[in-house]
Amino acid sequence: MEYTLWILILPLLGFLSLGLLGTRLKGKSAGYIGTALLGLTALLSYFTAWQYFSMDRVDGIRQALTPVNWTWMRFTDFLHIDLGILLDPISVMMLVVISTVSLMVHIYSLGYMDGEKGFQRYYAFLGLFTFSMCGLVVATNIFQMYIFWELVGVSSYLLIGFYYTKPEAVSASKKAFIVTRFADMFFLMGILLLSYFTKTFDFGLLCDPANQSIFASAAGKTFLGGAVLSWATALIFIGAAGKSAMFPLHIWLPDAMEGPTPVSALIHAATMVVAGVYLVARLFPVYFFFTPEVLHGIAYVAAFTALYAAIVACVQTDIKRVLAFSTISQIGFMLVALGVSSMGTVDNGLESHEGLGYMASMFHLFTHAMFKALLFLGAGAIIHTVHSNEMSRMGGLRKQMPITHITFLVACLAIAGIPPFSGFFSKDEILTATFMFKPWLGVVMTFIAALTAFYMFRLYYNIFWGKPAQHEHPLHEAPKNMTGPLVFLALVTVVAGFIPFGKFVSSTGAAYIIHLDMKVAITSVVIALISILIAWKFYCKGTSTVPAKMAGFFGPLYTAAKHRFYIDEVYQFITHKIIFRCVSQPLAWFDRHIIDGILNGIGWITCRGSLAFRWMQTGQLQSYALLIILGALILLCISLFC
């Protein structure tokens, strides 16, 4: 299956060709080239998935394949950095997700970005992003993953700052880059710590349950009261948390919405932000067998993030911000599912219930990618027409934009967890897994699910129902190349729930038969319906005074949530007041006065010295002759008499 290499090469080719020759291309041709290349990539991904999943299982377990693997840097016989392609259920699933969403975004952007300055640049960056994201998921070792991890960070930075004339976009891109880079530093430390003890970067070796001896050298070693292995996996998780916008490293994601909306759909909803989830899933055996306490910590952090983001999402008025916080919340769901999961046991070719969380997490990743991309693309279509992100500028759009309306509704129902849409199935599995782990956490997650339904329908009603706002120009439905992807993604969202996902992806690789836990399912659906009803009551007519009263009733909580609980201000305080003033300024002073002073002093001495010796360099042959003669005589004297 060496052809999988082309999944990486084609987008890279697109990036290079559009990036280097882009300005020569007229009109939309850059977009067509990029889209065509990505279409090929998507086809290749589907073909890979078909071929991979139709392969025979060994003892009922899907085997990982490495069709390509080059040794890139060899440090020792054990420790070497490879570049290669690893195909296993989750990477193949991710390839399908990435190429599908990316293709949809490519097509959609033909309409959305039409006539924008830097159209070719946009498509070039999209190609770069798709290349790096595919490289990330097929990485055979943790170091290759880190390389591509940084590459997606860079392409995210480039795309957030796409409108580089807008100061908000520039600062948002910087913020995203710095925050994720800060987290990546811990990721790198974790990688080094882990590989120092295990002597390998390779996922295959790290995650092989039969090959546990490599962790032996770390046994019993502790640092600051924690086992070193726990430190390593916790540090790796900090990297994952940065990319996946877990509290308190989530601050970059809402600001990242300054980028073009299709970019938000691709990078900041569907693919890049789930890289953290993917990383934890990839290292799941390590987490589970060696550092279960870190895994549980991940679950609690993720649950808190999900709750926090859901509350904040309830009061935001910028529709993209609502979706951003919703994304954070949903990623929290995925990580909770991973955190509460256990390694399944294989019995008779089927996997036991313990591995449910892992499967649920991946399932939710898949369905969420589809419906969240759909939500963002729908929001993009609305913004494209209304020219504003504010809810107050919208309302009553269902008549003007019927296709957007229907697809948006489908996505809202999916994320709210209403059967038979895909979100219902995946979220239900997550709740079931959480209840299996700790019932109280299950209750919390159910509450968050209810909040999700509430804020999504608050968004929906505010946009499509309610009081219509005044507009200078007539509103219209988006063009075909924008509604096409919407319809496609809506169809996927409708049917994706019925995919027997457990047969493809599970913690051990054996088939897992999904069956609904009726208690959990019915409770969550009823609660979601109640939330939707409340939202309908509050926002459908646009005249209800209850929301204002509620805001008054919750007073401080409402204000705090509206300001995102002042997390950004805390960061501002820490960075500006503490780090800048107490660390950076003394260092800057030291640099300017001591380091520079030494260098300037050297320069000054040289300058003075050369001035002192300048009289020798008269350029007159006779002076030189005099000096030569004197020197020769002195040397003669020294050699004779000393």
Partner: protein
């Protein structure tokens, strides 16, 4: 056959001539005077060649021929140098060393 004058005496004479040439080369201001000093230096080395040949290697002729060629070379050098000096004089109306700030016209 014994020499009447020891070799060292010749060499002292030639070294006086040599250092006189050095002194002139350093202190003279006129180009032609500098050239005259160089001529002194060269001639003093010629004397040394001939003297060493005569006193230390009487059966050979290398020193003498070296002197011969040296005389030829210095004559050639003088000719070219004087051509250059005349050219300079034509350009700057002076043959003083300190007036020679740049070689271009």
């Amino acid at each position: 056959m014994e020499h009447i004058i020891p070799m060292e005496y010749y060499l002292v004479v030639s070294s006086i001539m040599f250092f006189a040439g050095i002194y002139g080369f350093i202190t003279r201001k006129n180009l032609i005077a500098v050239l005259i000093s160089v001529e002194l230096v060269l001639t003093s080395t010629d004397i040394n060649f001939a003297v060493f040949n005569r006193f230390l290697f009487p059966q050979h002729l290398e020193g003498m021929f070296f002197t011969l060629f040296s005389i030829g070379v210095s004559a050639a050098e003088t000719a070219v140098a004087i051509a250059i000096i005349i050219n300079i004089y034509r350009n700057i109306k002076s043959t003083e060393v300190r007036n020679l700030k740049n070689l271009k016209d």
